[in-house]
Amino acid sequence: MKAVEVKDLNVFIGEAHVLKDVSFELDHPSVLVIVGPNGAGKTTLLKTILGFIKRSSGIIKVFNTDPEKDPGRIRNLVSYMPQIHNIDPFIPLKVREIVSTPVFFGESDPDLVDKALQITGLEEYADRYFYELSGGLRQRVLVARALAKKADLLIFDEPLSMVDIGSREHIIDLLMNIVRKESISMIVASHDVSHCIKYDPYILLLNKTVIGFGKAREVFTLENLAKIYGAATLNGKIFFMGEEHGSSVR
């Protein structure tokens, strides 16, 4: 059983060719970290997998379902945490209300909410307003909300970018624990793979097109890193040339 199959995927946003011939397959259950510079198309790929963005060509299957054809089934099987910048923090909602969103819309059970608050270390903040929290705590609320929904596949878009390093490792450990214990698949877009590496996830190096896909030791080659971050290699050394992000691969 595959959690996700993507074949020859092309996505245009307006005129821009944002994803080019992207293909990969993810077994179920397994963990995938998508790595790439700003503008590489990580968010776009996740949203296309969720069916929010229409693809121009190619095939996507999530648990054998085309997300554009049956969004209802995808909604049942997947939980999602969007990147934090589309959120309006000043809406007067309390932490518990936000984490309970999936329950409010009948997509989950109340006891999952308490569990999610506990995992993310938010119990003491449950009755605080979202806007009273720091950036890192706000991000944890969104992680908790994603965990409060039943799912076979968790999709996180830069879940911990604002969380301090210590808590980051702690939350990743807890996430990995759940994922393994309950046989869930997980896709994480991230700039920081350091804390995941010990769990040996699949890595997708993305810069508009797939630069590398596989286990970390196969993928993180100097060549690949150079390609993805717009640098050049010479005799095993890496040279950054300060190119505009996301524009180095054509």
Binding site: R75, P82, N86, D88, F90, F104, F105, F130
Partner: protein, 278 residues
């Protein structure tokens, strides 16, 4: 002197205005929070053109087709405008672009319909005057009854949808993820229609100019960090009622007095101590 004083406050015109303006303030306060959370200030402001178009067309059509009540026509036209805005958004246009486009159209209709009213009706100019400035002192019993119904309808709808509107405004993408795009746009249309319908109803009581103040100002409350609807409703009630009283004493239009009071109360403090987003 005492008797005169009592006469003033027991005057039926004054009492009518107090009831009408109170209802309008309560609705306005709730709608203003809706506007603030859903970031539809542009729609609320631009609805001035749409209200003028809808109200003037309502009266104009009433001249030719007697049984078409001006208000009902106005509500229908206003809802049509909102459906047009939503349709454009669903076709991929930006929200503000869609609102601006419908505003052009409604500005054209507003001027044509007002012109028609001025030509075809001997009382045309005073109807237009009423649409702009309202007539809170000359509300009939039916107007007051309609105001009560409208207040209940708008408040009831907002109350039922409150949590959903907050969650939608907090994270539209996640809301869409859980509810699907069709349901999400439906909630947006409902928000637009609530704003539009309230606009017409407030215009009936206090006029289009003051309606805009009531639909925007109350949620701007600069003193309250935790933006509570009940507190801001009490504040706008006090401001509106003082404005009614002063407008009688000084013989000035209600909308003008309300605008100045609202400016002093809501905007000046934030100018002085530059509040951030609150």
């Amino acid at each position: 002197m005492d008797l005169q004083f009592a006469n003033f406050f027991l005057n039926p015109f004054y009492i009518t205005a107090v009831i009408g303006v109170s209802l309008a303030s309560i609705t306005g306060s709730v709608v203003s929070h809706l506007v603030r959370f859903t970031k539809t200030q542009f729609l609320a402001i631009e609805s001035l053109h749409m209200i003028l178009a809808a109200a003037a067309t309502g009266y104009l059509m009433n001249l030719f087709i007697n049984y078409l009540y001006p208000d009902i026509t106005a509500y229908i036209i206003m809802i049509l405008f909102m459906i047009m805005v939503s349709y454009m958004i669903s076709r991929g246009y930006e929200e503000n672009m869609s609102i601006a486009t419908v505003a052009f159209l409604s500005a054209a209709i507003a001027s044509l319909a007002s012109y028609g009213l001025a030509i075809y009706s001997p009382i045309g100019p005073s109807i237009i005057y009423n649409i702009l400035f309202g007539s809170p002192f000359f509300l009939r019993t039916t107007d007051l009854l309609v105001s009560i119904y409208m207040t209940i309808i708008v408040l009831g709808a907002v109350l039922i949808l409150w949590k959903k509107i907050l969650l939608l405004s907090f994270d539209p993408e996640y809301f869409e993820f859980l509810n699907g795009s069709r349901k999400t746009s439906l909630y947006r249309i409902i928000v637009y229609i609530l704003i539009a319908v309230s606009g017409i109803y407030l215009t009936r009581i206090v006029g289009a100019v003051a309606a805009h103040i009531l639909m925007i100002a109350p949620s701007m409350t600069p003193f309250i960090k935790k933006i509570s609807v009940s507190k801001s409703t009490i504040i706008i009630l006090l401001i509106s009622l003082s404005s009614v009283t002063l407008s009688v004493i000084a013989n000035l239009p209600f909308g003008g007095v309300l605008g100045i009071f609202a400016l002093i109360f809501y905007v000046t403090p934030s100018m002085i101590r530059s509040v951030g987003r609150h």
